[in-house]
Symmetry: C2
Subunit: 218 residues, 2 copies
DNA sequence: ACCTGAACACCGTTCAAGT
DNA sequence: ACCTGAACACCGTTCAAGT
């Protein structure tokens, strides 16, 4: 009957979706759980530890054992490592977008757990098996995670959070013709394509550096 | 003799370097300024507006009119847009690394000012002049800023802040051979090279997509 | 115009004491 | 083991009143 640690984290994630990171308060959480403010500290050492556990929970699904790459047709086109990294990037973006302020939570508070580390290790091993050196696999993996987090951070900073600035809302259109054209194309194509296009730069860049020997797209 | 808005922002940036973002408090700031807590709100509408102005100040130098690209020899090798974007990325990283929690501050609170927007517009126009389409220039620019912010976020999350987790500190070495090897290579080469290598993937990827016609490296 | 004094409605966290 | 009650040392923000 008593509360358990996982219940606390689950409730905190629900609360996050409702009020956003800035208003995610220990007291609001304990009120939602129906206990006194101090009760939280029986289950969790500090608010920071709580946030770290939440971040790990958000990110974990993206590192789960990947099914076969969804998009790329097998046996043709891009090499296996490229399709696999792109699929991972899309899973990570999906996981971050799945929760309010997901990217901010993860970027500020993630302390990678054993499961995450294991998945990273497996990913590196897999890429080595496909002909990438440890350095190449490491650079690509690090670059992709950096790109995804940075991208979703910008993606989410406009909408959820607390709406502290659309940025380009209501400014003189005549002064920024290129910026406006780019934004219009973005909106027209659904916006998600910019993510895919940027991601493709990373994999295409490594493929180009490797040359056609390792399975370049052309 | 009276305090001005810019003094407040400058003092806040100094305080940030001393105590970090988490302990950057309005009361600590007013104490440092030698005024009462409420005095702050004569110069600034809210703490959030203050943080936004700080973020803009941190990022502004990176968008300043670029001198000739420092690294790439002119007239040979990579095309002009590639050298210019890489130089911008290094400037942005330098600006973020220049202040404690710089990446976190910018990623969470930046509301781009007119100067920043103008610089972005100019960058897009410049790239168009070099043969890139608006979409290509936009994708590249967005990808690069995402990459830089995500990279420096990870870079700074270990050290400054409040040290809430080195992540891979003190875990079983035998279980993560590839991860360890990658980390060792990182440390051996100074670490900054991973940034340059990942960045090169982005520019090389676009160059490969363009083909040799627009000035590919080979 | 710029700042003080004093207050308001909150925070995260601790810890004896209860059950 | 798990939680309450009550407190401590803070927060960001407002606003009359002073100069």
């Amino acid at each position: 009957m008593a509360l358990h640690r996982d219940d606390v984290i689950a409730a905190a994630l629900e609360l996050l979706d409702e009020v956003g990171l800035e208003r995610l308060t220990t007291r609001a959480l304990t009120e939602r759980l129906g206990v006194a403010p101090g009760a939280l500290y029986w289950h969790v050492r500090s608010k920071r530890e709580l946030l770290g556990a939440m971040a790990d929970a958000v990110v974990a699904p993206a590192f789960a054992p990947a099914a076969a790459p969804a998009s790329a047709a097998p046996g043709e086109g891009a090499p296996g490592w490229a399709g696999r990294t792109e699929a991972f990037a899309h899973r990570l973006r999906g996981a971050l977008l799945g929760r309010r302020d997901g990217a901010r939570l993860v970027s500020a508070h993630l302390a990678p757990g054993a499961a995450t580390l294991g998945a990273v290790e497996d990913g590196l091993a897999l890429m080595r098996g496909e002909g990438l050196s440890p350095a190449q696999a490491g650079v690509l993996g690090h670059a992709v995670t950096s790109y995804v987090i940075g991208f979703v951070l910008q993606e989410q900073s406009g909408q959820g959070g607390d709406g502290h600035g659309g940025g380009t809302a209501g400014f003189d259109p005549a002064r920024y013709p290129n910026l406006l054209q780019w934004q219009a194309e973005q909106a027209g194509q659904g916006g998600g394509d910019a993510f895919t296009a940027g991601l493709a730069l990373l994999t295409a860049g490594l493929a180009a550096q490797l040359g056609p020997g390792v399975g370049n797209a052309r």
